[in-house]
């Protein structure tokens, strides 16, 4: 009798822990599809030969343009230049219809955060890969998973939070006052 109670207690505990550690974190995020498939690898490296800044450019005032607009894509892809079905679909669905794709932004930050790319890349000489990893060589876009409660992507929650900013600034002995990064 005692053993049965002992077993039921621990099996209940094990199930709760398993659910808490595996099921809930999964249930907290929902996957949102990107409007089109995109291969960075097809554009960069030996195959495409493009640099990050060819599409993710700085504006003349130093602000960062982020994900390129359709007109940047249309500059090369007014007609399909390759053989792939996904490119053909992109040209027909977006470029020809002049419909701006609503990309989900993995790194989208809250409205009150200010992250100047020019300060980090141009002045700080940080490589794109330092923060974005091998994203520039990926053959397909990773799944965009958004937190059901906060509305922010898993990418932000996993390594682009304020703690991560402050940790790097501390490590390098840089200023980290509130208004340095908040607007």
């Amino acid at each position: 009798m005692k053993i049965a109670r002992f077993l039921s207690y621990f099996s209940g505990l094990a199930i709760s822990l398993a659910a808490g550690w595996t099921v809930l974190p999964q249930a907290l995020y929902k996957e949102v599809p990107q409007p089109a498939s995109f291969s960075h690898a097809a554009h960069t490296g030996e195959k495409g030969g493009m640099q990050c800044t060819d599409c993710h450019a700085f504006r003349t005032d130093g602000s960062f343009a982020g994900v390129p607009k359709l007109e940047t894509c249309a500059g090369c892809h007014a007609e399909p230049v390759g053989e792939t079905a996904s490119e053909k679909r992109f040209v027909e669905e977006f470029v020809k219809k002049e419909r701006e794709p609503q990309w989900q932004i993995y790194s989208r930050q809250p409205d009150n955060a200010w992250f100047p790319h020019s300060v980090h890349v141009t002045r700080g000489k940080l490589a794109c890969e330092g923060c974005h990893g091998s994203h520039g060589k990926s053959a397909a876009l990773p799944a965009y998973r958004v937190n059901r409660i906060t509305g922010y992507s898993q990418t932000v929650m996993a390594g682009m939070r304020m703690d991560d900013c402050v940790a790097c600034h501390r490590q390098r002995g840089l200023s980290h006052s509130c208004l340095d990064c908040h607007k």
């Binding site: 100047p116 002995g173 006052s177 509130c178 208004l179 908040h182």
Partner: protein
């Protein structure tokens, strides 16, 4: 939290306001609100519940009245709001000298408002609301604050951010120069903005006829006033006390 500025790059931004030039038009108040996404007050707002990061006081003197714009003085020493904040929501940025206010950390206790000898802080009683269509004209460089938090002038930090971004892009280092909205809007050019670490600007701030509000308190304000009229200087010294006692709004 101890914070260090990058050596050799720190600025101490300050202002010199010429009271003999200020004609009390209030353009600085409007420009400030537009720049910093300060919503228009609702119909029932009083001087106490409305939001103004800069206020222009009318001061009567024996001769003609004077007008005194008062915003956050960006106190550099013994900053009263910093020392009382239980949330660490206020700090003095060592790289700019600007007193930062972070509404996301603010719990709305308003201790800082009580501590501020200049009455330069305001409390958000309501979530910001803009008349239909006006939200299209909001400044993307400044985040709107939520209800239940304190806010104040930060020398147009959105403009500072933009200036830093542009300077970095051009490969420049060191402190940047920029112009806050009130300085730009003043038709009488009564407000000068600069870096007090710059010897010429500092000398101007401390020239004859210059003074700071409630200087004996030792808060080290970085907003300087200048007037050639002795009666104005005498009248201004009583200004803050009157505001505190509710005789002036």
């Amino acid at each position: 939290m101890t914070r260090r500025a990058t050596p050799g790059k720190a600025a101490r931004y300050g202002m010199i306001i010429d009271l003999d030039r200020c004609n009390g038009c209030g353009a600085c108040m409007i420009a400030c609100a537009v720049e910093n996404n300060v919503p228009p007050p609702d119909a029932k707002a009083t001087p106490r519940t409305g939001l103004n990061w800069v206020r222009v006081f009318r001061v009567e003197t024996a001769t003609r009245p004077a007008f005194v714009p008062v915003m956050c003085m960006q106190c550099g020493d013994e900053t009263p709001c910093v020392s009382v904040c239980p949330q660490n929501a206020v700090d003095v940025d060592p790289s700019t000298g600007v007193v930062g206010q972070i509404p996301e950390r603010c719990l709305g206790c308003r201790y800082c408002m009580a501590a501020c000898p200049y009455q330069a802080r305001v409390f958000n009683w309501r979530d910001p609301q803009w008349p239909a269509g006006m939200e299209q004209a909001l400044n993307p460089n400044v985040s709107a604050r939520q209800r239940g938090t304190v806010e104040k002038c930060n020398f147009c930090h959105g403009r500072w951010h933009a200036a830093v971004e542009a300077a970095a892009n051009e490969g420049k280092t060191g402190s940047v120069s920029y112009t806050p909205a009130c300085v730009e809007a003043c038709p009488a050019q009564a407000i000068e903005f600069g870096d007090l670490n710059d010897a010429a600007f500092a000398a101007k701030a401390r020239a004859a006829g210059a003074f700071r509000l409630l200087e004996p308190l030792g808060t080290g304000p970085k907003v300087y006033y200048r007037t050639g009229r002795a009666e104005v200087r005498g009248a201004v010294s009583g200004l803050i006390e009157e505001a505190k006692n509710g005789q002036r709004s």
